[in-house]
Symmetry: C2
Subunit: 467 residues, 2 copies
């Protein structure tokens, strides 16, 4: 059963009273309320003029029904679904799969998966990953979901050409192989659109006003989610509930506003430009990776909205609790005061594992008996948060009542809206990514794309190569 | 066949001539040579007095033969090996498995694994991970390798208690279940030592002078590696080759010295305290995670060697090429000049995947045909490195000739030695981790460990919780 309880944001440990004088003065947060009202109004205006399409994804459209119909109908024939996509075409899907089904989904038997297909997300072009996977897959029982808005993403299109040949070799060069392809792409233009129209391949749309990193609740994420049995209604209802909570322009009542303002103030007023997201849940680790994209690519900008060089942007970092207590927390506690840590907590885990009492004579382990692993994980998180606060380190906690689709929908929407607000605070456009163009052009040159200049890449200076 | 070619360090793009004036003045690097000679002498002295035990792990000791004998003998009986360990007891093992066998090892069939066992590393206490895994595993065909130097690590010992009960329930409370346990722990003291001695459980040693994060080439990493058929001789030979290369105290000839000096100077003289490691290889991504521990926990310190408060330490970040070009590179190119990027490159991949020519009439994808995925991945890396350099962003590349045990041994040793040198440059002790104590104590309090004080953790301030 889906829990419709709100997720919570506990941010007391971002503020000076809890941090022994370090951290943010609560007055500074209160003082940001005016600026937030302007930002909120500006965002509402951009919603009205249709440039922030991700907000609209929380409403159930007829397309959602089409996706469910496909997943429940023709989709049932497939043992595997392989997403060919990268960046925003991949991270949201992986986040949904891991959060709601676990990282071990593909290792489970068909029975353990309730006969839903395995789901692979091919988000790289490493031949040492792709060759073994394609050799292992029965392509005749596999749906390949090619996800690219423009159809020009080099990595995805190279994968597509490889998969297309494999399908044709296995299934023949007629209608057969096309039933194993589904394109998620621009509804009107682009290379995949053209191929789909020419060859009669099924497509799903990425709305023109939805950027890749904000597309998880479009067909980009919903189709794979539906294929593995994720409850789209609950996911969208959660997202809608958060959208509703963020309608207010009163900063201290708007969770996305508080999150954005705290991160911005921590960065610009307290020097904390490294923004760690640290779930205490293996299943939410991929969510931190998804956040890493939306936060870095939206806020890391050379130009501000006035066109001046500002070179700004926080550095998002993913960490995993309790694991990274044994890797990163030494630095977080004793290193420079340049970080905030956002914990993701889960109130109630799906499984309960009791630690059996044993070795009553050995104090160093006897205390563990009689507790559950969930209690231990929770104690570790609370202890780490308290240790950070006691050391003057800003941290906050987003708590999910359970790891279900409704809570995950809330979390995704919280962070998407917070990103747009943060763009307002930083004074940059959160929707563009001009900095990746140069690398693309140089790649085209190295790959000999017609019309591209030869890549002007100097050879290594041999005096600076140790071999 | 193992390639014994050296790995290469190409650092021209850390220096001002390539970065249009940004980056480090080569004179500053040259000027660090004197300080490096002192650091090198100090490290040699610490080796002599036996406090840097990880250096000695490159020599093949009789224990390596015992590990191989176990793996080739009794170890053959197991379908699965599960490592119970966290932090330094887990990260090196995962790095070795992924680098040399791929991230999909456990998804492969027994034939595809040449009948070597599956290898699971349980490095967290998330019940939603552990319950499904233990339910799925045939514990009667599984070896549980408990890895903890002291035997007091809460996460690992909780796992041990759970597994021990499962084994006893399945195999009976006699000799049987003990044959499914192997402890890697301190050879003389600690809780696991005591239990092993009392109950006759097989053990392997973690030398007293080898810290957890420097333990990958001890039994901690070698036992699981041997169990899955990794060539220990080649791994140790690679590590020994790098140790040999780093014997010189001439900075510009010592690859670990150059790596450490560049990172330190980039941080302290050019404000680049975020040290990204970005492999262009899925299989090396876990290595970046391993590096993240050794770099953060060794260098992130409140006190310098004189006992003064300095609160120093770079922030290591892991990224994956080409994937994170679509997530992080926007920030790396356009954000603050606060990062270095170290690429890991692989000259020759194990697999070659050709991109078949198709769609000659569509320029935007036709150019991909006729290339291989390895060529595309290589072009993306070179283009990204060049785009960073053209944007004034410091970066360097460590290139491995192939992904084999010899190259991986070199890489591990390069980064371990560099960490110790970096401790010298930063003026901190790279071998301790005092900052994690407070969190442990608070956890003990919350869990009611006898002798621990009640954890003094204040309740959340309800005015600062949005729900």
């Amino acid at each position: 059963m889906t829990d419709t309880t709100n997720i919570r944001l506990d941010y007391g440990s971002m503020l000076a009273p809890r941090l022994g004088g370090r951290g943010l003065d609560p007055e500074r947060l209160a003082a940001a309320a005016g600026r937030f009202r302007e930002i909120h109004a500006n965002v509402e205006a951009r919603r009205e003029d249709g440039t922030l399409g991700f907000y609209d994804l929380v409403r159930r459209t007829p397309m959602v029904g089409q996706i469910e119909a496909f997943a429940d109908g023709p989709g049932q024939a497939f043992e595997n679904i392989v997403v060919l996509g990268i960046g925003g075409s991949a991270l949201g899907t992986t986040s949904l799969l891991h959060a709601l089904h676990g990282r071990d989904w593909n290792e489970r038997s068909a029975e353990e998966r309730d006969h839903f297909p395995r789901l692979f997300v091919l988000d790289n072009v490493d031949p040492d990953t792709i060759a073994p996977l394609l050799d292992r897959l029965n392509v005749g029982a596999t749906l390949f979901n090619v996800v690219s808005k423009s159809g020009t993403t080099a990595e995805t299109m190279a994968q597509f050409l490889i998969v297309r040949e494999r399908l044709r070799a296995a299934l023949g060069d007629d209608e057969g192989y096309r039933r194993h392809l589904l394109f998620t792409t621009d509804p009107e233009r682009g290379v995949l659109r053209r191929i789909a129209d020419d060859e009669g391949i099924v497509t799903l749309p990425i709305p023109g006003n939805v950027g890749g990193r904000f597309s998880v609740l479009s067909a980009v994420g919903l189709l794979p989610a539906a294929m593995v049995g994720i409850d789209l209604d609950a996911l969208l209802a959660g997202a809608a509930a958060m959208e509703e909570r963020c309608r207010t322009d009163a900063l201290l009542e708007n969770p996305a506003g508080v999150f954005a303002a705290l991160q911005f103030l921590a960065h610009t007023e307290a020097g904390a430009g490294v923004h760690v997201m640290m779930p205490y849940s293996d299943r939410l680790y991929a969510m931190a990776d998804w956040f890493r994209q939306i936060w870095a690519e939206s806020l890391g900008k050379r130009k501000n909205l006035e066109g001046e060089d500002v070179w700004v942007g926080p550095t998002p970092v993913k960490a995993l609790g309790a694991t990274d207590q044994h890797s990163q927390v030494q630095l977080y506690i004793e290193g420079p005061f340049d970080k905030t840590v956002t914990f993701l907590a889960v109130d109630e885990h799906d499984h309960e594992v009791a630690v059996p009492p044993a070795y009553a004579e050995i104090d160093a382990i006897a205390y563990l008996g009689g507790h559950t692993l969930g209690e231990l994980l929770d104690a570790e998180r609370r202890a780490t948060a308290a240790a950070l606060a006691d050391s003057g380190r800003m941290n906050m906690t987003i708590a999910l009542p359970r790891l279900d689709a409704h809570a995950v929908g809330q979390l995704l929407m919280l962070l998407e809206i917070a990103t747009v607000y943060a763009g307002g605070f930083y004074g940059v456009d959160p929707m563009d990514q001009p900095g990746v163009e140069l690398g693309k052009v140089l790649t085209y040159g190295l790959m000999g794309r017609p019309g591209s200049e030869r890549a002007d890449i100097p050879d290594p200076d041999p005096r600076r190569v140790l071999r």
